[in-house]
């Protein structure tokens, strides 16, 4: 279960619309993630939400063989960290690829794809770029 905070609510609302939205600092011009109410680069509170391109590169990953019970993707699954074009990194699942270290490559280009979980929750997953 995910319960948003005031500073994260807009992110989850955007995900429900199949948009990847990031907090952007009008003071120092940097994006950040996870969403905070103040910019972790300069501590300014002058933030706005901007839609991200949804493109990025695989920063690192693991193939999880022992995961949570009843995890929707089943095991093995790829737990990944993606560095977004805008700069910040996001933890996600890499989908649309064999969960195998010979096919998943650090540095590979990936793009966002949204996974419906419930009325309240849609998760940003990523897949190899151009796979769709």
């Amino acid at each position: 279960m995910v319960v948003p905070l005031p500073e994260t609510e807009a992110f989850w609302a955007a995900a429900r619309r199949h948009e990847l939205s990031l907090p952007y600092c009008r003071s120092c011009g940097a994006f950040h993630f996870y969403p905070r109410a103040s910019c972790p680069h300069c501590l300014s509170g002058d933030l706005e939400w901007r839609r991200a391109s949804g493109r990025g590169r695989l920063e690192t990953f693991t193939i999880v063989h022992r995961g949570p019970k009843d995890f929707p993707l089943g095991t093995p699954y790829v737990l990944a960290v993606v560095e977004l074009e805008e700069g910040p990194r996001i933890m996600t699942n890499l989908v649309g690829v064999e969960p195998d270290p010979s096919t998943v490559k650090i540095g590979m280009a990936v793009e966002v794809v949204f996974a419906y979980v419930s009325e309240e929750l849609t998760l940003p997953h990523f897949r190899p770029a151009g796979a769709g």
Binding site: V2, L5, Y34, T60, T62, R66, G67, Y77, L79
Partner: protein
Amino acid sequence: MTTGERRRLRGRVAIVGAGESDELGKLPHKSALALHAEGARNALADAGLTKKDVDGVFSAGLWMAAETAEYMGIRPRYLDGTQIGGCSFIAHVEHAAAALDAGLCDVALITHGESGASRVGMPGTRFGPDSVRMQFEGPFGLFGPPTGYALAAARHMHDYGTTSEQLAELAVSTRKWAQQNPRAAMRDPLTVADVLASRMISWPLHLLDCCLVTDGGGALVMTRADRAKDLPKRPVWVLGTGECSSHVHVSQMPNYARWDAAEVAARLAFEMAGVRHADIDVAEFYDAFTIVPVMGLEAAGFCKPGEGGAFVSGGRTAPGGPFPMNTNGGGLSYTHTGMYGMFTLVEAARQLRGECGPRQVAGAKTAICHGLGGMFSASATLICGTEVP
């Protein structure tokens, strides 16, 4: 603060008592706080002191330090509950050194107790559904420490060519130390092939790349130099300390192939101690997973970034090797309650006093304890010795 100002603390305080719980392992008949108290009782006896002498309590876990003190019936005038993960107790040594030197307390007791396996008297999870952890990591199957550490191991392998065989070498060398420690949980012979053939938990980490999960406790007693000299055991002098925190959540780790916080903590400790890496006789490196000491050795400057895998190969850290490390058998084979850092401190103290029997590193005068907190989030380092340089 300059190195000179930090160095003022060098040799001003000492570890004068070190102890562990009577038993380690699976202890469903003992609560976590009972294990704190048991460790404290043994450490105080080791120091030749009683709880009446204690006026500073330092503790980490899922309780306030005040609750630990209440359980032991101590009314401290100085408390520190700094919680930065498993290396908290190493950070407490730095905090206790400062507090003792400033006269804010006279006898510092640092305690650890955890029912990591049996979960007796352990508070529930601190991660609510609105936490960062459960919003931005949990939904993607970040499942316990192995999945988080695997993210770093995979990147380290990618950037530097570190291999599973190299990581397995560390587990094998550590097991050889455990075979010389009758209290160690895992004492069967172990080979690199055994590690590689063990079940994959979270690629690239196998089951035998992962630490044990046990119950246990331990404690340290510290005091100032004047009093330390009158106590029964040879003082273990605090020479250098350092600590740093760079993040908490693994999704916020600045660089997956490097342990930034440990680079800072170790640099501070070496600068303060004024010793060289070659002066270290015995090393206790936090080993929750095989990748942790590999990255720790790099961060602490024993080898260059990327060279940790080669450094631990060829039995270098095993008994008889040139770099005696994790001489109790480590978190991999001795015990790992969840916050292992206390056990690095107790073992370093015992090695420096020459109390380690068959696993004793002959003539050990200077030791390093190198600790991990969270997901490569924090680090604390202690350099201690039998003499003040």
